[in-house]
């Protein structure tokens, strides 16, 4: 199914990844590889283990066995904040933003500087920070809402804000968990446009149910079922795979 075994060429190489929760294998001997600058979409029915895969990569859940190599570094043994520093960013399923802070402050916290305690104490909001925050805010359509408290944003705007918080972090691998869930049609179109703009010079791993949206953005699709890969390839190939139609797309 996969070509060769040279993890060096891949940005992310997941091999033999297994996690078991009290004997239930949520992810079972999973292997897949993500190239530089690739948009990979993971689809699959509920409970297929999609979110767990992202949890494993970003360190939220510890793997029972297997390896996750990112640019040749083993992530399974690293702490969450170290994984972030190697260049992996993660967006959660529900918009995970800081309601009590302003949009500006939300973005500023993700700016990759002053991440230690004393770094944060002595952090100054200089021109570089301000410019970058404005630049990202413009990208995520929130330029004129910078001083607004984040809890006043709409659901879609919150999703964008979290994407913006990841952008400012400038990760090499961006992982998005259902970025368009709960969005209106026009918001979806804008999000697709946003994602297409921000994938330059980075790889993106997306979990999504919206097939129209998947078609718009995916380079390659991985279908998960019961913690294992059911099918992998281009959207067209996956959509015509009888196994996929049976367990997922057929419904």
């Amino acid at each position: 199914m996969l070509i060769g075994h040279q993890p060096k060429e891949f940005l992310l190489a997941v091999e033999g990844l297994t996690v078991s929760f009290d004997g239930f294998k949520a992810v079972n001997d999973l292997s897949f590889y993500v190239d530089e600058n690739e948009i990979r979409v993971i689809i699959g029915p509920n409970g297929a283990g999609k979110t767990t895969v992202l949890d494993l990569i970003c360190g939220k859940t510890k793997a029972t066995s297997g390896s996750i190599q990112f640019r040749g570094k083993e992530l399974t043994r690293m702490r969450e904040n170290e994984i972030v520093k190697t260049g992996v960013g993660r967006k959660f399923q529900n918009p995970s933003i800081y309601d009590d802070l302003t949009v500006f402050e939300n973005l500023e916290i993700s700016y990759p500087r002053g991440r230690s305690v004393f770094g944060a104490l002595t952090f100054t909001r200089d021109a570089a920070v301000r410019d970058r925050v404005h630049e990202v805010a413009e990208m995520i359509f929130l330029k004129d809402k910078l001083n607004m408290s984040a809890d006043l944003l709409s659901h879609g705007q919150k999703q964008w804000l979290e994407i913006g918080m990841l952008l400012i972090q400038d990760p090499d691998l961006l992982m998005l968990d259902e970025p368009v869930a709960g969005m209106s049609v026009s918001e979806r179109a804008k999000t697709a446009e946003l994602l297409n703009r921000i994938i330059k010079n980075r790889s993106v791993l997306v979990i999504e149910h919206d097939m129209k949206f998947v078609e718009d953005i995916a380079h390659k699709v991985t279908v998960l079922h019961q913690g294992q890969i059911l099918s992998e390839g281009t959207m067209e190939k996956v959509q015509n795979d009888p196994k996929v139609i049976e367990v997922y797309l057929g419904h």
Binding site: D99, F104, E105, R115, S116, V117, A120, L121
Partner: protein
Amino acid sequence: MTDNRFVNRSELIGILVLAVFLVVVLPLTLDVFRLNLVAKYLTYAFVALGLVICWGYGGILSLGQGVFFGLGGYCMAMFLKLEASSVENTKIQSTPGIPDFMDWNQITALPFFWKPFHSLTFTIAAIILVPGIFALIIGTAMFKRRVGGTYFAIITQAVAAILTILIVGQQGYTGGINGMTDLRTLKGWDIRPDHAKIVLYFFEVGCLFVCIMIAQFVRHSKLGRILVAMREKEDRVRFSGYSVANFKIFAFCIAAVFAAIGGAMFALNVGFMSPSFVGIVPSIEMVIYTAVGGRLSILGAIYGTLLVNFAKTSLSETFPELWLFGLGGLFIAVVLAFPNGLAGIWGDYVQPRIDRLIVSRKPKPEGWTDSSVADGAPAE
């Protein structure tokens, strides 16, 4: 809002109002006895200030701040006690030159850990470092293992109980349940007469404002915003590349150091230190001061401390048995009805009215004049 300034204008006014209240109004209107009571109350304000950072901003509820208050207080009391136990002061003892309670407990030589407390420099360093390092150890042990919330609160209570038992049990080294009494002089300067009480009061207020400025600095730094962010979405902060545990440890340590400074001030102003300020009940009372004042407000916590303590003094004189029920009821009422305490009531109801009044009466840009400062004074 978008600037990294230390204090903004309305906060500066608030601080000035508090300064006028503490430095001018109270000393002019109260007799020395009452002023000394205020000094005692203000020692708890240090603890409340630390809790604003730790609990209000960081969301870490510590029910054991009495531990740090006590550690700071005992460090200061040990120095003062040694000075009061000079050979000529204690010549009637079987071993002159050691604190009286040691003599009563058949201890014949000063224990090794008491010896450095002959030095004031060492004592001042110990007041900061002993509680700071102790908080660092507890914080590291808890937060690195991701113990938080209720579990953390319970553990801090346990620590408070353990320390109380330890102090009471080791009577010969600590003075036991009576604590360290009969503290007399600081470097030869008598701390007991009225004029000394007044000097100590002003010294304490000075220290309090230094701590307020430190708290302001922390709050307005990015660290302050990270604390707020952490309180809301801990995972988001963690996956933005921060070590959440380190930030919690920092907040806990700074609260501990503030509490310890308060404890040291207590020993100086009140003239004794005892385990009754270390245990679970005083620790919870300190949380109530913060809750009543407003756990998100640096100045609110100070007014809350003063108000609850004034109420405690006047009510417990009249209804000694009922007072504790009143305090408990007050805590429940504040949490249910006004989760942001006095500061919340002030910000939601009083401040907007004053603002409107100023805008409607004098529309010139310098709306903040003497009259508005005077209006702002009785925040309690």
